[in-house]
């Protein structure tokens, strides 16, 4: 099941997702996203060396894929409006990304063809004339230099921001997994006793949903919006 690809290959989560879908020769739909969700999660799990600045983005897409996969397996599961929006947006975003990725390949070929137009050096051979601006003094120099200094991106600050983002996202994935568990009543903790990290828990949860799909366990729901109960099919009463 492990999906062996080198990390440098992917520019980001969209790039990875698109590759997974195209490898399976699928169109971009909610269903095909659900189909590659496990491979995607496996991939982030296997690649501990995803750069910190990209990890937040990979996790954000992971959260959306978990929602999509859960719905594909449990169509009766209710989603909040925000979750519905996230699911819809991911397929659209991927569709949009695909267009530009393909365009970038075409542009790359054009650039490589070497049909380059060259400019001429500006004002070549024109005599320089000393024409200083009238209204500038040494304090303007300081002002503009300080402005330039302030615009220089500070690397450390950026990192802190990303760390915070990753932590919030991990919490989000955690919450998501908790609420999904509450929505389907079952001893989920039994399934996850051997889990070593959060991704493991998520994978276990998805595995549970897979069992539903394969009718190893059963889902029961009295009425719309009522509690969903999971039962092991072999011990069920009917």
């Amino acid at each position: 099941m492990a999906y062996n690809v080198k990390i440098e290959k992917f520019e980001g989560p969209m790039d990875l997702l698109l590759e997974l879908i195209e490898k399976e020769k699928l169109n971009i739909t909610e269903l095909s996203l659900a189909h590659v969700a496990d491979q995607y999660l496996d991939y982030i799990k296997a690649n501990d060396d995803i750069k910190l600045e990209n990890l937040a983005e990979f996790l954000s897409v992971a959260a959306k894929l978990i929602l999509i996969k859960s719905r594909a397996l449990l169509p009766l599961l209710q989603f909040t409006e925000e979750e519905e929006e996230e699911i819809k947006d991911l397929a659209k975003q991927l569709e949009e990304y695909k267009k530009f990725k393909e365009a970038s390949i075409v542009l790359g070929k054009l650039a490589e063809a070497g049909r380059i137009s060259y400019a001429r050096p500006g004002y070549a051979g024109v005599q320089t004339i000393f024409y200083p601006p009238e209204d500038i003094n040494v304090y303007d120099f300081r002002k503009y230099f300080q402005f330039v200094l302030a615009e220089i991106p500070v690397v450390e600050q950026l990192d802190e921001e990303v760390v915070r983002e990753v932590i919030t996202l991990e919490e989000k994935i955690n919450d998501l997994q908790n609420t999904l568990r509450q929505r389907v009543e079952m001893s989920f903790s039994e399934l996850t006793t051997g889990a070593t990290d959060k991704i493991d828990v998520i994978l276990s949860f998805l595995a549970m949903l897979e069992m539903v799909k394969q009718r190893i366990i059963d889902v029961e729901q009295g009425e719309l919006f009522e509690e969903i109960r999971l039962k092991n099919k072999t011990t069920s009463q009917f």
Partner: protein, 180 residues
């Protein structure tokens, strides 16, 4: 200025400058109307391509630049060493493609499509002169990005509209669906 003279003057201006020159500046220097300048440049462009001249006139927004005919690149390269010959990375090409078809555009919008932070790539493309930035009228601390004349020259095309599939890719269906 009569058209024959104006055409000759425009050629001189674009030749001396060597850089992109605004239509308004040409109009001012030649004491002509914007329309007359536009018309004369269009005639020059036709003449250039009909006669397979050594130069082409590139247009971007309201500016024109004279550059060598891309057909002669192999010969010209033996005389010049230019930064635009350097190769582009995969990330660089993706960012350029989004900005070429959808610019002027903010960095956040580029990132929304790519799903990944692009600040490093955008900065390096700006430094190489393949992108330009202007202040964002809607956000006084932010910028809008667009492609540059150097990018068009690197691809050997004389206007953005000549990019492959420009018509379809420059349209944002999502925006259209919100408007209509």
């Amino acid at each position: 200025m009569e058209q024959e003279k104006l055409k000759s003057a425009i050629e001189s201006i674009l030749f001396v400058s060597g850089e992109p020159v605004a239509v308004a500046k040409i109009a001012k220097v030649t004491e002509s109307s914007l329309e007359d300048v536009e018309r004369s440049v269009a005639v020059l462009q036709e003449e250039y391509s009909a006669a397979k001249r050594g130069m082409v006139i590139i247009r971007k927004e309201n500016e024109f630049q004279l550059a060598t005919n891309p057909e002669n690149a192999v010969v010209v390269e033996q005389l010049v060493k230019s930064e635009i010959q350097e190769n582009l990375s995969k990330a660089g090409l993706e960012v350029l493609a989004i900005i070429a078809y959808r610019g002027p555009i903010t960095r956040v919008e580029v990132e929304a499509i790519r799903g990944v932070n692009c600040s490093f790539t955008v900065r390096s493309l700006l430094m190489r002169g393949l992108l330009e930035r202007i202040e964002n009228p809607k956000d006084n601390r932010g910028y809008l990005y667009k492609i540059s004349f150097d990018f068009l020259k690197k691809l050997g095309i004389d206007s953005i509209e000549k990019l492959p599939d420009y018509e379809t890719l420059s349209k944002d269906d999502r925006i259209d669906s919100i408007i209509t």
